[in-house]
Symmetry: C2
Subunit: 350 residues, 2 copies
Amino acid sequence: MTSLSPSDKALVPFVSVDQMMKLIHHISVEEMMSGIADYIEADFKRWELFDKTPRVASHSEKGVIELMPTSDGDVYGFKYVNGHPSNTADGLQTVTAFGLLADVASGYPVLLSEMTMLTAMRTAATSALVARVLAPKNARVMAMIGNGSQSEFQSLAMKTIVGIEEIRLFDTDPKAIEKCAVNLQGQGLRVVKCASAEDAMEGAQIITTCTADKQYATILTDNMVGNGVHINAIGGDCPGKTELAPAILHRAEIFVEYPEQTRIEGEIQQLDPDHPVTEFWQVLTGQAAGRRDDKQITLFDSVGFAIEDFSALRYVRDRIADTGLFHPLDLLADPDDPRDLFGMLQRAKG
Amino acid sequence: MTSLSPSDKALVPFVSVDQMMKLIHHISVEEMMSGIADYIEADFKRWELFDKTPRVASHSEKGVIELMPTSDGDVYGFKYVNGHPSNTADGLQTVTAFGLLADVASGYPVLLSEMTMLTAMRTAATSALVARVLAPKNARVMAMIGNGSQSEFQSLAMKTIVGIEEIRLFDTDPKAIEKCAVNLQGQGLRVVKCASAEDAMEGAQIITTCTADKQYATILTDNMVGNGVHINAIGGDCPGKTELAPAILHRAEIFVEYPEQTRIEGEIQQLDPDHPVTEFWQVLTGQAAGRRDDKQITLFDSVGFAIEDFSALRYVRDRIADTGLFHPLDLLADPDDPRDLFGMLQRAKG
C-alpha cells in the first residue's frame, strides 16, 4: 500500500560510519579537512549571528554526556557526544558522537550523521585553521604529545593547512607512538618517534597536546616551553581535566572559542575568571590582534564548540547529495493530514 | 572483509516510525499506554534520583526546537522535539520528535527511536495517570477541546486508565471534530460532537484542552468552568502560549511536572512566580495531597517533561528485544583498537 510508505518529508538522510568513511576517501582526508576548515572559518566570521550556549552536560563518575546545540537562524544543529576516559581500557572509544541538522522554519530534521569520525576531522580542521593564523610564520615542525585517536588527524590537518613537514611523536605508552608512526607512513610527513615530551618539542614551532586523563595533569611544565611557539591544547575539555602548568598560561597570549564555555572546561579553568583571553573569531574578523611578535607564546585553549560541528555537518550535507552516501531514515511521522496522526497509526494496522 | 563490518557495540537499535506503529499494534494502543503510564509512575516515584534541567530551547519566529535531557544515573536519555504551529498549513506536523537512550557508564547510545508517535502515547499516558489520581471519583465524561493530533490518544488513554466512557468533542474547525469522531468509532467510547466549548463541557468531570496556537489564547473563560472538575491543560507548552483565563487558575489547585519549567512554559506563566503549585510526583509518593474534596477544581498544567520521555523510551527498549522491531544502525565508530580511529579509516579505503 503506497499510503503506508513514508513521504519524502518523513525521511531524514542518515550518514553511517561506513558512509562517512567512504565520503572521506571519496573527497580525500586532506581535501575534506581543508573544506571543513573553510566552512568553520566562514561560520566563525559570522559568529554574532549564531545562537550560542555552553554545552548541556550530564556528568557521572565515569565521564560526561553532552548536547551541543546552535543555530544560525536558518539551520539548527546539535551534536551528542560523550567523553569517557576509562572506555579505552574496556575496548571502547573515549569519545563517540553523532549530530543533526534541522530546518529552523519547520523544525524538521534534514540530516543525521555519525560524528565520531567527523569530530576528529573538524577538531583537526579547527586546530589547523587557528594555527595557520597564530603560529609563527614558516612553522614546519610540530610536537604531537598524546598519540591517541586524534593524533593522525591533527598531524595531517597541520600538514595540509599550515604546511607542517615534520611531526615529533610522544606518548607515555610506546605502543601509541608506534601506532601513530605506522599510520602516518606514506602521508608526506617526516615522522620522528621521541623518548620524552622535551625531546618531542625540540625545534617545534607548534606543540599539540592531546591526552585524555580526566584529572588535573601537567603534560607540559613551564621550563619545557620556550618562547615563540604556538601551543594547540586540545586534551583539556571538561571540568577538572587540564594539561598545562598554570605558569605557561601566564606567559602565553590565550585564544579561545567561546569564553563562557572555555572558563569551565578549558585550561583557563586554572586561572582567575577574569584573566584576559581573546576570542579567535575576532582575530578572523580583524576585531582583535593575533600573534604580535616572534617571541610570543600563543595558546589555543581548545575545548570544541558547537559552531564547529555545525560547520562540519553543513559541509557533509553539501557533499552527500551527489554521492548518494546516505540512507533515507524513516525518522518522522508525516501523515497526509498533519492533524491525523492517529489515523496514520490506524491505517498501519495489519 | 569482516574487519570492516561494524562491531555489535557500534550498532545502535533504531525504531523507525513504521516499526513503532507495528510495535503499538503488536502490543495494542491501550495496553501500551497503560504500560507507559506504569513506567512513568515508577519513574515519578523515584523523581529525586533524576538529573533534571529545563529543556534547552531554540526559539525562532516560526516555532521552537528543543532538547530535553535527563538521567537516572544508570541510563541517560534525551528527546529532540520541535513545535511549529504554522506547520499544519504547510502540510507538516506541528510536532515531530525522536529520542535516544545511552549507557551512563560508557556514554554509548543504546536506543534511537522515532518519538512523534511515542510522544503522543506518553503525553496521553501522563495525562491519564494524573487524572486517575486527581479527577473526581467515578469520572465518566471528558470534554476534549482541540481535536488535533493528540485528541484520539488522549481519549483512549482516559478510557483505559481512568474509565472515561463518553468523549465530547469540540474544535473551532468542524473538520477536525469530524476526523476525531471517525477515528474514535469502534473504540468503545460514546462520542458526542459539540457545537461549542460550553456544550462540550456539559456533564464532563474532566476537561482536556489541547490547542496549538503560539499566542496567549483563552480557550476556557472563568464562567465556563464549574466546580468539581479536573482540567487537563496540555496545549500551553511554550512562552506566550496559554489556553486558560487567569481567573480559572486562581480558583484551581494547580499540579505541575517540574515547576522551574512550567513557570516558563505552562499556564502558570500568567501568574506570579511564587504562586503555589504542587509537584505531581509528590502526590504519588504521598508527600503532598491530591484532590481534597468534590468541589475542588484540580488543574494539571502539563508541559511535558523529560522524565516522561525517558520512561517511554525505557518501555520501548524493554519491549523491542523479543519483537525484532528495530534496525541495527551503524551510528558509532568502534575500531578494534579504540585509539586507532585513523587506522579504521585507512582500512576502509577502497
